[in-house]
Subunit: 401 residues, 2 copies
């Protein structure tokens, strides 16, 4: 058995190629196979073109051990995958009567006659083995071309997922048993740049050759990721401990939850209703909290001439049990803004200044929203309310209560 | 010159391969190149693995005329593209002093010393030609491997887009001039299903073989697209005219502007300030308007026990020149909701019912927000305020003023 499998997903369809729809099957397959110990090594995406598809199947089967082909098994004329598979392996399409029977049952159960166009879905390459589709008429199939195991699957996500998880995975496990599964540790930081973190990590920590450290930047967050085989776990655990110590002042969360989902979860766990007032951030503070089922009472995006003090006081007297968070008076030129947090007993009032790299407004709004979410996280976890972040300067603090 | 170019995008990075981030660069590049007459034929996505990247560059350069490689030019150790490009072409990395100078200027302008890790970004394959990056430290470059033109670009979208549109496209146009550009006409409809539209189009219109008609569904919108070579333009124009007549009651806009950007533009052109009140839509009505620079005075997402009548009246007396739009009391079980539009002279009050296919809440919120945006579009264009949409039922109308 080879120790490193080349596993490629081959996604077909103009809409996926041109990015008009997001390839959610690809995301799902990566996560699902990783959890089973199989790491996708590449993905190839192409349009609905017969000659290209034939060439692709021939080329990609030469360099991969496993190909998962997705899409193009429908009844219409632009669904070309079975035809391409047959030609790629120099064989013909033949009728598989057991699939005709299956489709006839499918339509009979729905009280409809089978449209003649569906017959096409029972025409498979002569060397194919059927992979059952319990929820649709597109027939999955398996073939071996150039010693590569190829699984052909339908594009409809529900059909694709059932086929992979109920049938293909068992076949993979029998043909390519995984002895040493990969594992992955992740954490997300805020307040330092990627190169700043990388400099300290590379000069301070010793990363063994068989552990990979990855960085992913999505302003204002940097995710750090360790990946290795499970047999490396003791070394992983040691490095993970060191890494956590190194980033501790900037650690926002461990895992993949995301800051807004984390804050929403903390608010729910603390049974803490909240009101969001924002001014230059267009709803970016409130929306991700709504979207993650946070207990928000209401939210406002203030106009430039509205009296924020009056609005906050009125809401506080109507909803005394609520925490009120307000971020306002962002001055683009200077980067200065005001952040208020009204809790049961305290009123915190900060004048802060964003003095990091300047971006266009939408990105700076995202950064401000993250600062607002972070102060909620810190309040709920009883941490100092404002993080020591390289691009955030505290100019003034008032605390009443 | 070949008549059909093989143009592949090679996206690198674990986070793109595993679907942790959406490859927005791929979507943008497809659209941008298409508009210039170049059609992307495939996309290859792989992780941050040096040996695989070397093999990929060697393999993909053999079967493509043009490769656009995206990502992996950052300062950290998992950015491996330059190293892979050098090894793929059996050459070494050398220091390009002009890029060191460029980066030193970049940091000097920001009043910071250059971190030592950035030096890596000036190490390029010896045969590389620099492609300037006016907005970042990642150096783009061009190489020829296996007679394939390869352009290496940074993953940061703003840097990627500038590099493609300001530099790479000119190089492509000089090396591969396009004689018969593809052209594409698009329009977006609302209120009919894809199969309903397709049935009427296919039974009513004659679509010539060399014109392709495409459908794209993104609830609640269906986009229709005609594609052909520019030499087919007379036939395209005729079909386009017929198609516009066919969909006219459901036509939202021609082109690709999007409903919220269109409404924002109309509000700006009419110098019409607006206030948005919503209740179950979490800011989805207001946010896309803010995001497209609509003249919004302020917005609120109401709590369940807030007095909407009082809030609307108070805002109307404070801002008499504003249009106020309110969507509230959405009842998930029945699909009923209320929509108010207060203009200078009128108050329109509708009870509507969404009676289309049921989705999870986030999608239904998107549909409600589109109905709200559409009533603004219709008001500004002096059309009947509520469209005759198959999934929208008007149960009650009150008009005062």
């Amino acid at each position: 058995m080879k120790s490193n499998l080349n596993i490629e997903m081959l996604s077909t369809g103009d809409e996926v190629l041109y990015g008009q729809i997001t390839d959610t099957n690809a995301t799902w397959l990566s996560d699902y196979l990783f959890a089973q110990g199989y790491v996708i090594t590449s993905r190839y995406t192409q349009g609905d073109n017969l000659q290209q598809l034939i060439a692709t199947l021939q080329q990609r089967s030469q360099v991969n051990d496993i190909l998962i082909v997705n899409g193009g098994l429908g009844p219409t004329s632009d669904d070309l995958t079975a035809q391409a598979a047959a030609q790629a392996n120099h064989e013909s399409l033949v009728l598989f009567p057991q699939w005709v029977e299956k489709m006839q049952q499918y339509f009979a159960q729905r009280g409809k006659p089978m449209p003649s166009s569906n017959m096409k879905q029972a025409m498979l390459p002569s060397s194919a083995t059927i992979i059952d589709n319990p929820v649709g008429t597109a027939c999955g199939f398996h073939m071996i071309i150039n010693n590569c195991q190829i699984y052909f699957t339908p594009g409809v996500p529900s059909e694709f997922k059932q086929m992979v998880s109920q049938q293909i995975i068992a076949d993979l496990q029998s043909k390519f048993p995984i002895l040493d599964k990969p594992c992955c540790y992740r954490l997300t930081t805020m307040g330092r740049t990627e190169s700043d973190l990388a400099d300290e990590i590379e000069s301070t920590l010793t990363v063994p050759d068989d552990i990979t450290i990855g960085y992913r930047s999505a302003m204002p967050f940097i995710e750090l990721k360790l990946t290795a085989k499970q047999s490396q776990q003791p070394a992983m655990d040691k490095l993970w401990y060191e890494l956590n110590a190194l980033v501790k002042d900037n650690l926002i969360y461990v895992g993949t939850i995301g800051l807004a989902p984390l804050v929403s979860q903390l608010l729910r766990e603390h049974h803490q209703p909240i009101i969001i007032i924002e001014q230059q951030t267009a709803g970016l503070i409130a929306y991700p909290l709504y979207n993650n089922q946070a207990p928000i009472i209401c939210s406002q995006v203030l106009g430039i001439d509205q009296d924020i003090g009056q609005i906050v006081n009125q809401l506080k007297s109507t909803y005394p049990q609520a925490v009120i968070l307000a971020l306002h008076d962002y001055d683009i030129a200077s980067g200065r803004f005001k952040l208020q947090l009204l809790t049961a007993n305290h009123k915190y009032y900060y004048q802060l200044k964003y003095n990091g790299r300047r971006y266009h407004l939408a990105t700076e709004q995202t950064i401000l929203a993250a600062v607002a979410h972070d102060i909620l996280r810190r309040h709920l976890l009883r941490l100092p309310l404002i993080g020591q972040y390289t691009w955030l300067q505290t100019e003034q603090i008032d605390s009443v209560g």
